[in-house]
Subunit: 132 residues, 6 copies
Amino acid sequence: MFSVTVRDHMMIAHSLRGEVFGPAQRLHGATYVVDATFRRASLDADGIVVDIGRAAQALHAVIAELGYRNLDDEADFAGTNTTTEALARVVADRLADRVRAGALGDAARSLDGLAVTLRESHVAWASYERPL
Amino acid sequence: MFSVTVRDHMMIAHSLRGEVFGPAQRLHGATYVVDATFRRASLDADGIVVDIGRAAQALHAVIAELGYRNLDDEADFAGTNTTTEALARVVADRLADRVRAGALGDAARSLDGLAVTLRESHVAWASYERPL
Amino acid sequence: MFSVTVRDHMMIAHSLRGEVFGPAQRLHGATYVVDATFRRASLDADGIVVDIGRAAQALHAVIAELGYRNLDDEADFAGTNTTTEALARVVADRLADRVRAGALGDAARSLDGLAVTLRESHVAWASYERPL
Amino acid sequence: MFSVTVRDHMMIAHSLRGEVFGPAQRLHGATYVVDATFRRASLDADGIVVDIGRAAQALHAVIAELGYRNLDDEADFAGTNTTTEALARVVADRLADRVRAGALGDAARSLDGLAVTLRESHVAWASYERPL
Amino acid sequence: MFSVTVRDHMMIAHSLRGEVFGPAQRLHGATYVVDATFRRASLDADGIVVDIGRAAQALHAVIAELGYRNLDDEADFAGTNTTTEALARVVADRLADRVRAGALGDAARSLDGLAVTLRESHVAWASYERPL
Amino acid sequence: MFSVTVRDHMMIAHSLRGEVFGPAQRLHGATYVVDATFRRASLDADGIVVDIGRAAQALHAVIAELGYRNLDDEADFAGTNTTTEALARVVADRLADRVRAGALGDAARSLDGLAVTLRESHVAWASYERPL
């Protein structure tokens, strides 16, 4: 199995609902360093998993829809806790939509899977992985 | 599949028995930067894999039992080589015990798995992963 | 010249005023990984620059006053842009106050200087350094 | 499942054929920071996955055959694109050959698998994993 | 004293002349992760050292002139060894030219200094610092 | 001013005397990731600060005298606390001796200074810098 990973980041504000979150129930924020991993069993005709330039652009487009925003005000997240793990899934699912829509090229439609990791600090991170 | 990871560290002394270890047969020591990863197929009602505060506390409690000690003098390790890979399993198994005992909350009892990585330097690390 | 550095982090929300900031004029947030460096020309009687436990506690206390907050709502920052470089100075100056007040012990009063670095992502950081 | 990883690096020149590569079609180069991960279900009699000294030597030997070279001139790669993902496989397959030839000792013949990651920058990397 | 740093990277091929370089006398290559640090004694009217967006663009422009090239073929480097330390100076001097030409804005003309670090691997890097 | 840095590591056991050290008064250990930085105002005839191969060998030789040992048993450290900051000085001073003895070549005798950083974990490190 092969994989390729690209890294980018986004900076958001949000608050979390539930006693379990302690002081993070207050409005605060985070930088998420975002790693998107694309997996496939064999390389395409160019000898790659995915066009790394297009993969980086697709990731950048997905996080540009989230970054520099207060997620508490986004209609998409009404009623959901925008935890690190939930946001990892949002990024992965939106990337998967772009792959299926052809944004990463035709060869990318035969990718096997996708994983997204959001690093919220030097001591904590969350991931979500899914098939494609 | 979702996962959440928390990082901490411990500093121990030990020696290793067996020619394969070369100079590490002498009494020496290590800082282990410890990453504990908790896995589950779906998020709980709060939108999380595990309460990250409790996860960090549980990891800290486990490594506090090992850190600032000469492991050669610990009864628990009599007759065992405290290699990085063996210690990764000790940390993972002790964390699993705490999860089952409820230290990470009731929701954590439905975690699917656990992985522990011990980084002994910038050029070497070991992991152990297990179901829960 | 000797130095000792301890690392911690804080998560805040804020917005920045001025066209130069582009989308960062909107309410968003950041994780700052904070490195506090203490400098002195010679070691104290224990062979240290500063009690690293107390240094870590002082840094943690300073950033606990800032973290998990929307800095736009903090009276201390009314009328100021809470840029990464400005916050590096706030952390350094507040740490210096604690050093002078004896929070790091008597020996720490003879520290020569202090530097604080705030890492806002994997590709950008800011520092402020000052004498003590 | 246990694993042990060792890190080394190599510096190569090459060019890539295909429009998808943009400016990387010109002769350029890369530092690859190489992580080789060895996996096995249970530890050997010494309490290890693999002799970490021998593992590091084997990895160093494999990458010494590639490093400080223009890969465009190497007969082994005639007609292939030496992409990061393709090189990850080359390193993994050559390490697997050494394992089977006994270079890592007899116990290493019962390793279950191998993964190799090549980090080409702080924002991109590729991996290949295989059974043994 | 304040500073702000931005990170980018470039991938080049080159060879080095002189016995001291051993196998690096052959044509090979490197990824340089490039950190550019801008220093000034006091913040400007916006509360910043430099417009970080413009700083990142200026750094990107400078390294785009070097990256994805065989430096042995570049007229600018005829007769010079393109060592990591020499390239750090090239990047710093070209950034200084851009600062003086106003590419980072008027306020940036009062910057006090500049430092550039080129990381060639996880175990080696070089820096050059200069006044402005 | 130019600088070049090389990284290596050592693993030691020790204990520290003094109440300020808390649990670190017990016999324990540490991995120190060691960065040695060599500084000079201008490059030598080969375009380098120092022969990086010889610099790495000299650093390796210095830390090989310390690593895989219990520093409490070393005559050189009788009556001294082997704190991270004190060990940074030991490594720097021993490297300086080697530079003066010619181990890094004749050109290295005109180096201006030396700095050594010992990273004891992901959250703490110490440095010592000196002229040459």
